[in-house]
Symmetry: C2
Subunit: 350 residues, 2 copies
């Protein structure tokens, strides 16, 4: 018996293609010798494609991507301030469009401080937590608008939409995640100000929590959570939070753990109705593109998240371990993107 994993690969812009090349090598090696064969289709999407054709994400591309088992994405976005991209909004039209169309309701973002990786914190402690960020609701829904634009009487509104359906499923995922870890869940919100959505989140965590009596729950306002993120990040195990707070907290988490170059993410559809998407948290960094100086580790760790998603636990652990070993032996001497990828592949052998 053999299985096939069909993969949509979106290398994207800037350093995207460089880091994805290494991630693919690692994926291939991790699955070599298993009964799983990977078929890949590449999609040229992002700022470069937009500049060439005017397309951000065509229906045909979206259909083809939707039919895959998973998506591996590098990074999308052009040079900041490029006037030719002014009307594109690649983020909303491509990245968020994929997350919303494919119902990626869990945005999973682990953070670890690896021994040997310098943190800006003088004493980060033993940091190992995951943020379960909601991915399909909140202020990200795009339900805003303006009137009298460009006049002194302009009003611009943004609506954060939160549903019992949407909050329940992500909270449930977070509790399960906590149960498989150190059994501590922190809800982050701003219930004292955003009273309606905050109340829904709080009540949902309370209700679902009764089904997980072994998981200890606490609550932090988002402002206070940023304080703990720099004073005591080791206190966190699983954080569950809304789309916008999750966006902010995971960049901060990336920073305190030694840089966004190690931060992986999975945009998950745990129900399996559409393919999940795996991508490094970092952007396309056009300023350093093509120079072979980008760190592919975040992309490679995103492959580990993908393997985990398909319950390929052994292979996922092997990739994580290889990365960990590679990081532990970094000497500070510069290596090319390819050299880092090759070193990690080499550790997967045997």
């Amino acid at each position: 018996m053999s299985r096939t994993l069909s993969l949509a690969v979106i290398p994207g812009d800037g350093i995207g293609p460089e880091v994805i090349a290494e991630a693919e090598k690692v994926l291939d090696r991790a699955l070599s010798g298993s009964d799983i064969s990977v078929t890949k289709e590449r999609f040229s999407l992002g700022a470069a494609r937009y500049l060439e054709t005017g397309d951000v994400l065509t229906d045909d591309d979206l259909d083809a991507i939707s039919s895959k088992d998973a998506i591996l994405l590098g990074a999308v976005g052009g040079k900041p301030g490029d006037p030719r991209l002014k009307d594109a909004n690649i983020e909303r039209g491509l990245l968020l469009k994929l997350r919303f169309s494919l119902d990626h309701y869990v945005n999973l973002r682990p953070t670890r401080v690896y021994p040997g990786v310098p943190s800006p914190l003088s004493d980060a402690g033993d940091v190992d937590f995951v943020v379960v960020r909601e991915g399909t609701e909140g202020p990200y829904v795009g339900n805003g608008g303006s009137i009298r634009e460009g006049t002194d009487h302009e009003i611009a509104n943004e609506v954060s939409v939160n549903t019992a359906y949407g909050v329940d499923r992500v909270v449930r995922f977070a509790f399960e995640k906590a149960q498989s870890r150190r059994r501590r869940l922190t809800l982050v919100h701003k219930t004292n100000v955003l009273v309606f959505s905050g109340s829904l989140w709080k009540r949902t965590v309370d209700a679902v929590g009764t089904e997980f009596p072994d998981v200890e729950v606490d609550y932090l306002h988002v402002d206070a959570a940023t304080i703990f993120m720099v004073t005591d990040p080791a206190r966190f195990d699983v954080i569950v939070t809304d789309n916008l707070f999750g966006d902010i907290l995971t960049d901060l988490a990336g920073a305190i753990s030694g840089g966004i170059g190690l931060a992986a993410s999975g945009n998950l559809n745990p129900a399996g109705t559409f393919p999940s998407m795996f991508e490094p948290v970092h952007g396309s960094a056009p300023d350093i593109a093509g120079q072979q100086i980008a760190d592919p580790t975040a992309a490679i760790l995103s492959v580990a998240l993908m393997l985990d998603h398909f319950s390929l636990t052994t292979q996922a652990a092997a990739v994580s371990k290889a990365v960990e070993a590679d990081i532990a032996e970094r000497t500070g001497a510069p290596r090319t993107t390819t050299e880092i990828g090759d070193a990690i592949v080499a550790r997967l052998t045997g």
Copy 2:
């Protein structure tokens, strides 16, 4: 000729009364020998008052407070999770009600890393910036609601309201502030996702910026801003941002600068139509209340902001200098709240 400054004093809950007592001593000393006399009216507001009378903020109290020249507030809020406070929401009903009713459209929050104060960052650098947080709009307006509450079909919305009028006035204040400092203004928003409000903020900064050609402007997404806050906070001079992002960034700023115990704030109505309000950023910390172990420095620095607001520049500088000298000579030996206040008062003499 003599002048009178009428002050509403709201000591509040927890450590509020302790830190406000020291702030008042400092204010009195700073103005002694000047032609300004201070008249004070005390308002018992906060969780304690609510538990006693059921009032959060009566119209009579609001009227009386509105007639003053300024407000000095300690901190309000009861024990977290106190079931008797469940329906109170002191934050919305009191603190935010004051900010909105008195049109505190600038929430001014300076951050400095004082020599000798330990920061969680191993190398904070020379940090000295102010956040100009909008105070009367954004997701704080309270324009949310739910339908089908408590059912599987609940929907809870929050609306962020942003107006040309409201954004223009706070952006203008921020440019003026930057002009009096290192002439560098950073707009923080999330324009790639919150496209309508983001566009209004961006266009307003661009437009007002043409009147301040000597101020250098840059832009950061809020998630990226949190990264710089821990990797290079010295890059900031003036940050202008919306109500919610400002809330988050200023707690983080307090944390990296050695703790919220030093963070002061002014809720300003620069137009002068209502009294401005000065308060430490920290909360009421009921767990350490009444023990004389709270640091009154943030409350005292809030007095400096108040003096500045009334253009009492010499007195404001004297208070800041006294605080700075006090901080520089801290030995780590514990001092009571009163001892810290007394030490700062002593430095104001002569």
